[in-house]
């Protein structure tokens, strides 16, 4: 089975449809070479100061550099990329809302063996979500070319419909080869893993993942982005980072306050700055459960 490639003009609904079918898709050449250069210029000092992983799953020759919202203004723009948000809006649209789950540069060094094939949604304590109920949407933005030799992500297209907790070998997977500036989208249910890096160069990608906002975030955005930086960020980005309620009431502060008021006391009111459609979905859910509308 092949991995679908779409061109840079693809719409969110096209990417989402491919994800629903195969669990993974590459959109080619979304970023220009100059945009990749700008991202890497901001990220390089942080990557160089990052230590390698502490076990074979995180990768002993792999550096994982997080807190990209705090560390890289260009990454903030990437998190809010219209294609990523449009895709998540469709692919994760069965839930009331979604949020940013993690930000991480993954730099796989020469000699790193292949990562164990897994589903990312196993992060949620290996809870078996039913087939078709997607809980997260990943993006890996290629900062170098991704090829079979340097450890391109290995995927099993269509495995989003497989049973849970299966084991696979590398030969059952295919490499998500892509050019620098392209982006691999994949759902939390698709079996995949980082490839072995048999080249002499480091393979670098920016992993930005979104998940349903009733689940815990992998990267704690409240702690990873200091408040003095957070206060300067656009409201739309803050909402996505978790400064908004999930579902009816998850994540409030103090006396049931909207968490954004911790940073921005000037903002108030349910619905302001929420992702498109969230308020309507909530009203419908409340109405179904209790026959009552939130005023």
């Amino acid at each position: 089975m092949n991995l679908i490639h779409l061109d840079a003009n693809a719409r969110g609904e096209d990417v989402s449809a491919a994800l629903e079918r195969d669990g993974a898709v590459v959109v080619d050449n979304v970023l220009s070479s100059g945009q990749v250069d700008d991202l890497m210029a901001e990220l390089r000092p942080w990557i160089e100061h990052t230590k390698a992983g502490f076990d074979s799953f995180s990768g002993r020759n792999t550096r994982r550099t997080g807190a990209l919202i705090a560390r890289s203004p260009k990454c903030r723009e990437l998190v809010m990329h219209p294609l990523a948000l449009a895709t998540c809006g469709r692919f994760l649209g069965h839930a009331t809302s979604y949020q940013l789950h993690l930000t991480q540069v993954i730099s796989i060094g020469p000699g790193e063996p292949a990562q164990t094939i897994h589903r990312d949604q196993w992060a949620f304590d290996f809870f078996s979500f039913p087939k078709g109920y997607e809980v997260q949407c990943n993006t890996i933005w290629a900062m170098t070319d991704f090829n079979e030799l340097n450890g391109a992500t290995r995927v099993i297209p269509g495995s989003n419909r497989f049973d849970d907790k299966m084991r696979f070998k590398e030969e059952e997977t295919i490499p998500a080869e892509m050019t620098r500036g392209s982006v691999l989208f994949y759902g939390g249910s698709v079996y995949h893993g980082g490839g072995a890096n048999r080249s002499g160069q480091t393979r670098t990608g920016i992993n930005l993942t979104y998940n349903l906002s009733w689940l815990r975030q992998e990267e704690n955005q409240y702690l990873a982005c200091p408040p003095e930086i957070a206060r300067t960020l656009p409201v739309g980005l803050l909402r996505l980072m978790g400064y908004q309620l999930g579902a009816y009431a998850l994540g409030y502060v103090g006396d049931a306050l909207d968490p954004i008021q911790v940073l921005r006391p000037d903002l108030n009111g349910f619905g302001f700055g929420y992702l498109e459609g969230t308020a309507e979905k909530l009203r419908k859910q409340q109405s179904e459960l209790w026959g009552q509308d939130r005023k």
Partner: protein, 279 residues
Amino acid sequence: MSIPHIGPDARCEDVLAAIDCNGAVVIDRLASAEMMDRIGSELRPWVEKSPAGRDGFEGRRTRRTGGLIARSQTARELVMNPLVLGVAKQILSHATSFQMHVTQVITIGPEEPAQPIHRDQWAFDSYPFAKDYPVSFGTMWAMTDFTVENGATRIVVGSHKFDDQLRFTEADTEPAEMLKGSVLLYPGTTYHGAGANRSNGSRSGITIQYNVSWLRQEENQYLSVPVEIARTLPLELLRLIGYQRGAYSLGYVDDLRDPIEVVRPDLAKRDRVRPESPP
């Protein structure tokens, strides 16, 4: 069926057996009336300033006051009550770990109608968890006596084993009457709701809930507890309120650091680059 009561010297397994059978249990006077009064006086300024609810579910004559870890030193003892933690650990034992989910004083004023009967774990976007996989565990500590007249919590006894998304009326429920200092325990799967307050006084209770640590917390502890207060808290309490990873890696900060290092840098295991100090 009625809600069983058990003494404050009960063993964890007795409490669990009562919950398994009925979906709820009251432990009589697990805290002293004096302790509840102390919590009441620590929280009074905050309760008086809390706004009433915005809809029929929150209750337009009901005040909800959160942030108890930051605001009441004595309430932290309720959160860490060893018997309650022992029961929570067992109820949520199918998950790797659990965390504190919510702290809230609920003050129900006179003439408040009954709250709709619900499951607390509907908070998770109404995801239909399997019956044998409760994801949250609730406690309600009585700050006043709870009576039928003043709106004692109404429980559909045995409903933790029922199907999801059912609707009930008050006639299907039993009141969890209890004395001040007693605590009502129930898993997130038990159908319940606050009773109507037909008395002249307020009914006041503290709900402290726990959930499996791969789910989001209802009350954001990172934002509700200022870091200067967090630094003074016991390590076990910090871990419980979310300063620990859930499952393999949920909730780390920057380069896979344990979140506890943000408030307790002295516990850092590895030298790492902080987001606030560029290399």
